[in-house]
């Protein structure tokens, strides 16, 4: 009886893990390319971006899950999760990266969305989107008000949407 219970527990745990791997695989199939593109824009190094992609997807398996499914379902949730992870991973590696490969930054493909923005709009959007800056910190850095920074961000979205 006890043995049967142990076997059942083991198989339940196995099913949970398999289910979780499946849900991460679904997320990978849907968003891996987008995430790699995003990470590349942040780190500007293809190999490092691929390495971070592996680390971020692997780390999803450590998240608390609901019945074997990872709580992250949408691109926005994955992006927020990636930003927090990337901030920590990239801070750890920033020193090694700049010293091991000096000047080894790769220029990405021309971005039709960002090309439509003016200098200020592009800076606000990139600082928030790629580098996880808060509105208040960015306003201080740009020597402007928070309201104006938010407005600039709004304009950036509107311009990118209109050209989409």
């Amino acid at each position: 009886m006890v043995k049967l219970e142990v076997i059942m527990l083991e198989s339940t745990a196995q099913v949970t893990i398999d289910h979780q791997t499946q849900s991460i695989r679904c997320l990978y199939d849907k968003h891996a390319g987008m995430l790699l593109g995003y990470i590349f824009e942040v780190v500007k190094d293809r190999k490092l971006a691929e390495e971070y992609l592996v680390k971020i997807f692997s780390a999803l398996s450590l998240l608390r899950e609901k019945q074997g499914e990872v709580d992250i379902n949408t691109w926005c949730q994955l992006l927020k999760y990636t930003k927090t992870k990337l901030l920590l991973l990239h801070v750890q590696n920033r020193y090694e990266e700049t010293h091991a490969h000096p000047g080894m930054t790769v220029v990405g493909p021309a971005n039709i969305y960002l090309d439509r923005l003016n200098e200020m709009q592009r800076r606000v959007f990139c600082e928030v989107y790629h580098h996880g800056q808060t509105i208040s910190a960015l306003s201080v850095a740009l020597n402007t008000t928070e309201d104006l920074t938010r407005k600039t961000l709004k304009e950036a979205f509107l311009i990118m949407r209109s050209g989409g």
Partner: protein, 167 residues
């Protein structure tokens, strides 16, 4: 109505979607979202925008990436590394493995290895015991053969003595 339109135009939703909003701004947005369906609609549009921008910037990962992720996940399940746990609540879990599944409630004190470590001095003690054993064995064989030989001689002498008496 004017107020909510002003809010939608302020850029607060954009900063929220990008994760750049402060705690107070998030709370304000969540309370407005429950009252005004326009906020939810605007958020859905912004999320779609973000997805479209990301799709445009997408780079196809190399074909073996998923295998690397799978291998890394298996490794993490058995021994989570610190760099993955930063910013996470620690989760205790392990892949079911016959033999190692003692119980999840107790810390395993007894090692699973069948080997034990002892002091080097015991090597000399075991060597001495072995050599002494061999010496005792050699003596035992020697005295056994000696005793047998003596017994045979006594027997021989007894026969000779009885023959002489008969004569």
């Amino acid at each position: 109505m004017v107020k909510i339109n002003e809010y939608l135009e302020s850029g607060a939703l954009e900063s929220y979607v990008l994760g750049a909003a402060s705690k107070a701004e998030i709370e304000e947005l969540l309370s407005l979202k429950s009252k005004h369906p326009q906020v939810e609609e605007a958020l859905a549009i912004l999320e779609a925008d973000l997805e479209r921008i990301a799709e445009h910037m997408a780079i196809a990962p190399p074909p073996n990436t998923w295998l690397k992720i799978e291998a890394s996940m298996n490794e993490l399940v058995t021994s989570p590394k610190m760099e993955y746990l930063i910013g996470e609540e620690p989760v205790e879990r392990s892949r079911p493995n016959p033999g190692s599944r003692k119980t999840e409630q107790f810390i395993e004190v007894e090692g699973e290895s069948g080997h034990m470590r002892i002091h080097k001095i015991w090597r000399w003690v075991f060597g001495a015991v072995f050599i002494l054993g061999k010496i005792f064995l050699a003596f035992a064989i020697y005295y056994y053969l000696e005793n047998k030989h003596t017994q045979e001689e006594i027997q021989q002498l007894k026969i000779e003595l009885s023959n002489q008496r008969k004569k």
